[in-house]
């Protein structure tokens, strides 16, 4: 007898499904966030020439394609013998950094203002018809305008470094295909108000204050929303600084103890394992030496500010110190504080962009470096939503034979599930009817992680969530689909 399994049958992009099981006493027995995120890129990139990967694989996503573009290029730097991180020419590395920090700036702006701010500024239980970016624009027109322009600025940075705002071709194995001419630099540096870097830094700073104000007035809601201990994982610069582009692996536990430190990511598969569970197409990564049960971790802004020792830019460092003081220097495990962390990162991204724009290396012509070719390369980057892994192997004919991608949202799979569980238990225990605010609370928990599934679909406040409430017999008691 032969068993043929076709799994998954189709790709579903940007859709999440939550199932919540209640027992006889209306206690939440089980919750699951199902994400069907299978894309097939790892398979169909096989056989392609390796230099095509950064351009092909970035098509995974339209929100942070730069992350995939750069992670792939970093892996291929190793393959073409340019080494990792600082192996490139100064212009090559700095142009890529500029591209990446531009992306951080646009993606974080988009996430906070367009996707999450409606929950905070309009109220998570406000009318869903206006609890979206349009409602935000009506009530806070000035803020909404800033949100659009901040995103636009970040996209312009990408445009000048990658050639296009979305799906450019700037990073090539061993370097970059263009520098930043003075005239392009000046558009970003000295552009007419408000589209210049100084205004952007000011607005990013204002955004941090905006969240802090909100927090001061809603401390109980924010702190008690989904608060649970976890490990935290990210790249950090060799000296412990926050770095989105390059570094070594570090992980800390909920108390701040380093459980992984100073690890070269070329060896990531010695430290990371992925578990497959039958009910989700998304894998569950964990730290091998700690094991499946306790080795899961968070990635993204919350994790990054827990693993790094400091932020190498003035204003962001000041905000970082205030943020760290809140937890007495210990790791922050408050789910909704992710927004706070994200906005500090936004500010940092703005400051780094300015620093890079003032760097004359960006106008030099030494763009690419190559050395002895290797057959395997791993590239890691801190994408807006967390650590992104790209691993490629090639044959003697320059064709890709293996590709393994662990995307940021996959790394956050377990914590997202736990957050959903936390909120469901808190909001729904003893309830036979799900109210709209309860459903939105579940969405807020997921949104805090800025998962990829939200990017394409929540722009108008319509994250396509499918929430089912089961009784103990497995019968659906209530069903909500947005």
């Amino acid at each position: 007898m032969q068993k043929v399994t076709i799994e998954p049958v189709t790709r579903v992009e940007g859709h999440g499904k939550v199932t919540i099981h209640l027992d006889d006493n209306l206690n939440v027995a089980q919750t699951r966030l199902h994400i069907v995120e299978f894309r097939g890129f790892e398979r169909f990139v096989q056989g392609r020439p390796y230099w095509e990967a950064p351009v092909l694989v970035q098509r995974l996503c339209g929100i942070c394609p730069v992350s995939h573009h750069l992670a792939a290029a970093k892996a291929l730097d190793v393959i073409v013998g340019a080494g990792t991180g600082h192996g490139l020419t100064a212009t090559g590395e700095k142009m890529r950094r500029l591209m990446h920090y531009g992306q951080m700036f646009q993606s974080h702006s988009l996430h906070f203002f367009h996707l999450s701010a409606p929950d905070f500024l309009l109220g998570y239980d406000s009318d869903p018809a206006t609890r979206n970016v349009v409602g935000l624009a009506v009530k806070f027109p000035e803020l909404a305008t800033k949100a659009v322009l901040m995103r636009k600025f970040g996209q312009e940075v990408i445009h000048f470094t990658a050639g296009k705002k979305i799906h450019g071709t700037g990073a090539i194995p061993g370097g970059i295909n263009k520098n930043l001419p003075i005239e392009e630099r000046d558009i970003l540096l000295k552009g007419a108000d408000p589209l210049n870097i100084d205004t952007m830094i000011q607005w990013a700073y204002d955004a941090v204050q905006l969240f802090k104000d909100y927090y001061m007035n809603n401390k109980e809601f924010v702190d008690n929303f989904a608060h649970f201990p976890s490990n935290h994982f990210s790249l950090v610069r060799k000296d412990g600084a926050l770095d989105f582009y390059h570094g070594v692996l570090r992980a800390v536990d909920a108390e701040g103890k380093r459980i992984l430190d100073d690890v070269d990511y070329q060896d990531y598969n010695h430290y990371i394992e992925e578990e497959v569970r039958s009910w989700s197409y998304m894998k569950f990564p964990y730290l091998k030496h700690i094991g499946k049960e306790n080795g899961w971790y968070r990635v993204g802004p919350l994790a990054r500010l827990n693993t790094c020792d400091f932020i190498p830019s003035k204003l962001a460092q000041q905000e970082f110190e205030l943020y760290k003081a809140h937890t007495n220097g210990k790791p922050n495990n408050y789910c909704l504080h992710t927004h706070w962390a994200r906005l500090i990162e936004l500010l940092h991204a703005g400051e780094v962009i300015k620093e890079l724009l003032l760097d004359p290396d960006l106008q030099k012509d030494d763009l690419v470096i190559k050395g002895t070719k290797l057959h395997k390369g791993v590239g890691l980057i801190e994408a807006p939503r967390g650590t992104l892994f790209h691993h490629y192997e090639i044959n003697d004919n320059d064709q890709i034979t293996l590709a393994n991608l662990i995307v940021s949202t996959t790394n956050n799979n377990e914590p997202m599930n736990r957050s959903v569980n936390y909120v469901a238990k808190k909001m729904m225990t003893g309830q036979s009817q799900i109210t709209e605010p309860m459903k939105n609370a579940v969405e807020i928990a997921i949104r805090a992680y800025d998962p990829c599934l939200s990017c394409a679909t929540h722009a108008m406040g319509q994250m396509p969530l499918d929430i089912k409430l089961f009784n103990v017999n497995g019968e659906i008691v209530d069903h909500y689909r947005s």
């Binding site: 020439p49 095509e52 351009v55």
Partner: protein, 234 residues
């Protein structure tokens, strides 16, 4: 001395030497007739038919037709525009032209024509042919799924002894471009560069140099295909 003749293209009177190829005379006079297989100075193949015009009421390929006195040529008419667009669509559905990850994007003649003729969705069903890639030689990566059978490489890329590196294999729907891998082991850098340059699509790729030209500096980033000819007139 060659005989001078007169004829018209879309009503415009043109003077040329008798026997010159129509497509070249048109270009010299600022009239763009698209080509994919033709290359000035190389014996015409007439294989792609994108340069089809109507001469005295009959459809003919302008790259293989010598001009003659009193010819009445129609080129820029709705009927011929649509016929060319249909040819472009056929070429797209017959291969696998995935522009988003193709390094020839922006420099590709087929893509350029797709834009110029405003191809949106092809009217023909996709053939989904699947041809193996040829990656085993040091200089060239041959992406057979993108070949449009123009035969430029077969006609133009030869070694010192005149042997072609490229040849067709198979017939009908099984036709495919092939590379003499033994010969190509020693292909010069110059030939590799020329092969990639003359290929009107992304079928012939030089190894390890993809995407070195930034967006904004590619051939058709700022002007549509054919502009270099039409601008002669302006």
């Amino acid at each position: 001395m060659s005989e001078k003749i007169k004829f018209t293209i879309d009503g415009k009177e043109i003077e040329a030497e008798k026997g010159q190829l129509l497509v070249e005379v048109a270009a010299e006079n600022g009239i763009y007739i698209p080509v994919l297989c033709h290359w000035k100075g190389v014996h015409p193949a007439g294989s792609c038919r994108i340069c089809t015009v109507k001469i005295n009421g009959r459809f003919m390929a302008s790259c293989t037709t010598p001009v003659d006195a009193n010819m009445v040529v129609e080129s820029n008419t709705p009927e011929i525009q649509d016929l060319r667009k249909a040819i472009i669509e056929m070429l797209f559905v017959e291969g696998n032209h995935f522009c988003p990850s193709c390094e020839k994007s922006g420099d590709c003649d087929l893509q350029g024509l797709g834009y110029r003729y405003q191809m949106m969705v092809p009217r023909f069903p996709y053939a989904f042919e699947r041809r193996e890639l040829e990656a085993s030689t040091p200089k060239i990566f041959l992406e057979k799924n993108r070949c449009i059978f123009c035969k430029r490489c077969v006609r133009m890329i030869k070694d010192e002894e005149g042997r072609s590196y490229f040849a067709f294999k198979g017939r009908g729907k099984h036709l495919e471009i092939n590379l003499d891998t033994k010969l190509a082991e020693h292909m010069s850098e110059e030939n590799a560069r020329l092969a990639m340059k003359i290929c009107p699509v992304g079928a012939i790729l030089r190894k390890e140099v993809g995407f070195e030209t930034p967006i904004g500096k590619r051939k058709y980033d700022h002007v549509p295909i054919g502009s270099e000819i039409e601008n002669l007139q302006n």
